[in-house]
Amino acid sequence: MDVVLDFERPIVELQKRIDQLRELQDSNGVDLSASISELEHQAVKLQARIFAQLSPWQRTLIARHPGRPFTMDYVNALFTEWNELHGDRAGHDDQAIITGMARFRTIGDDPCDGMPVVIIGHQKGRNTRENIKRNFGMARPDGYRKALRLMKLADRFDMPILTFIDTPGAYPGIDAEERGQAEAIARNIIEMARLNVPVVAVVSGEGGSGGALAIGVANRVLMLENSVYSVISPEGCAAILWRDRAEGPRAAEALKITGPDCLELGVVDEVVSEPWGGAHRHRKATIEAVGQAVRKHFSDLLGLTRQELRTTRYDRFRAMGPVVERPLA
């Protein structure tokens, strides 16, 4: 069930023709290599043209694509000895957030080789059944409290923390409010500020508001090129400011939510490039690139003392948000 976004359709069509020609060549033994390579050349050019100038809304759609790498894809590819650890110890095990422990794979000559790490991430589903289980990656307070439990464990045992942010937002439901969604998010934010271990966060898909920040108060925040990080969803913003959810594309533009935008605003430290075609069409290469970036940032942080980790994290967020002096008359 490949989901094809409107603007990728020409590329996908072209790719289909290339595949057909290949099949024809194989079955009939005719040499079509000239046409094939011509079409391939065209496909590359077309892809470059489309992906070099993606609009914020198009990036939003890519960020939400079900084919994008999810937390467990990163875990499986980049780590060994993974154990998922469950539960908030208060009655719930929210499936919208995954938490656990693992080691970085040994790639040779890397400071992170074999390093134990606590991993926390939103988890979306690839189909309806999975998404019902995962609640589309929208956590309830229980999920944030489970994440906090693991963060405190990491802090006690001096383990670095890696988080993957990919959520439309914290779940807006009756049970979530009843159990204190606001408090759970607030608690995570303040407790993350207190952590004495290196924390790296990766916005891998949708960085949806408080539900994202609740696992995002990190020493370094990385963002995939076609991921988004926003105070409100473009549609939600459009519903309020334009009184029409269909104005989402305009809101996406206005809100400055893409990786490059957030880098410019000083909200993230590095944008990890995605291959042309997007992470959803190039999962392996994207996961590799994220792995390298994460290792690099952990390596930078490993030399810092507990105090320095707290202080630099404080300074990082302290600097955010420009203001001016303007005396009242």
Binding site: P172, A186, G210, I240, A254, M320, V324
Partner: protein
């Protein structure tokens, strides 16, 4: 009880920005119709009663300056902070109006640079760092200026070892400042962590109608004590968003102060006329200072006679008696 339902309905309407139907319409100069008991009330009587309906106890909105005045000891002069800090349109945000224009409109309407007032004021003889949202300024939304003012408030409280009090009234983060407004949640909470860890001073959070979104999901829900006014709307997601998401009507009284109290999310609900007395009592208990009980008047007299009390318990021993 049937009144409760309608009262709640009215409140919700107000929150989503539609006009309250009857309020102030009859004779705008003299009377206000109470949205709860539906009776006309003299504006003068309302003002005298701290904007609480004398007939049914409905809490109307109270301006930031008035709130601060009612909280601080009489005959003391608060020091204002950071009044000149003003917002920047960092995103070049335009919806139906450019953000820059909205800033100008809000400024001329409120005579303020943003939606938060920050003071050092004396409460029950204790110097405190106090802040209050001004809901009239873009719905009390938190952008970079509000975040900066609250961060500085906590930093000042930590530096001078003073208690902090923040009175919230806010729809949440300010959309026009995008992800920068989201980051104010982290900035303010990090400063609060320092206040709690390094200075050990109490922080009292007062929630008034409404306190939602990014303000609820950060410092507002992190008070050592969380006190709410009656019937305030408090929650993470707005009622409309929840209704749309789950496709069903919300239960009566959902997300009110009373609902949060019942579910263990706040410490207590205090009517406006008892707020000052309550804060004085709990602050002096937490700081191991002598009781100034009985009533507000007595508290005031004692405080005025005794001069300022440093909040730090260690030094307070010397200033007592």
């Amino acid at each position: 009880m049937s009144n409760e339902g309608r009262r709640w309905f009215e409140q919700r309407k107000e929150f989503v920005g539609r006009a309250r139907p009857a309020e102030g319409q009859d004779t705008p100069d003299l009377l206000t119709r109470c949205p709860s008991c539906n009776e006309p009330v003299y504006n003068e009587a309302l003002a005298e009663n701290k904007q609480v309906c004398p007939l049914c106890g409905h809490h109307f909105r109270l301006g930031a300056m008035k709130r601060l005045e009612l909280l601080c000891d009489p005959d003391t002069t608060p020091v204002h902070h950071d009044d000149a800090l003003a917002p920047v349109d960092a995103l070049g945000f335009v919806d139906s109006k450019p953000y820059g224009k909205r800033i100008e409109v809000a400024r001329s309407k409120t005579g303020r640079n943003d939606a938060f007032v920050s003071i050092t004021g004396r409460v029950g003889g204790i110097d405190c760092e106090i802040g209050c949202f001004d809901f009239r300024y873009m719905g009390g939304s938190m952008g970079s200026v509000v975040g900066e003012l609250i961060t500085r408030l906590f930093e000042r409280a930590a530096e001078h070892e003073r208690p902090a009090i923040v009175i919230s009234a806010s729809g949440g983060a300010r959309m026009q400042e995008g992800v920068l407004s989201l980051m104010q949640m982290a900035k303010t909470c990090a400063a609060l962590a320092r206040l709690q860890d390094e200075a050990g001073m109490p922080y009292i959070s007062v929630l008034t109608h409404p306190t939602t979104g990014g303000v609820a999901a950060s410092f507002s829900m992190l008070g050592d004590l969380i006190i709410a006014e009656p019937e305030a709307l408090i929650g993470f997601a707005g009622p409309r968003v929840i209704e749309q998401t789950i496709g069903q009507q919300l239960p009566e009284g959902f997300q009110t102060s009373e609902y949060l109290l019942e579910h263990g999310m706040i410490d207590l609900i205090v009517p406006r006329d008892q707020l000052r007395g309550t804060i004085v009592r709990v602050l002096r208990q937490m700081l191991k200072l002598d009781s100034l009980e009985v009533d507000d008047a007595l508290v005031d007299r004692d405080a005025a006679a005794g001069g300022p009390v440093h909040a730090k318990p260690a030094s307070s021993a010397g200033t007592e008696a």
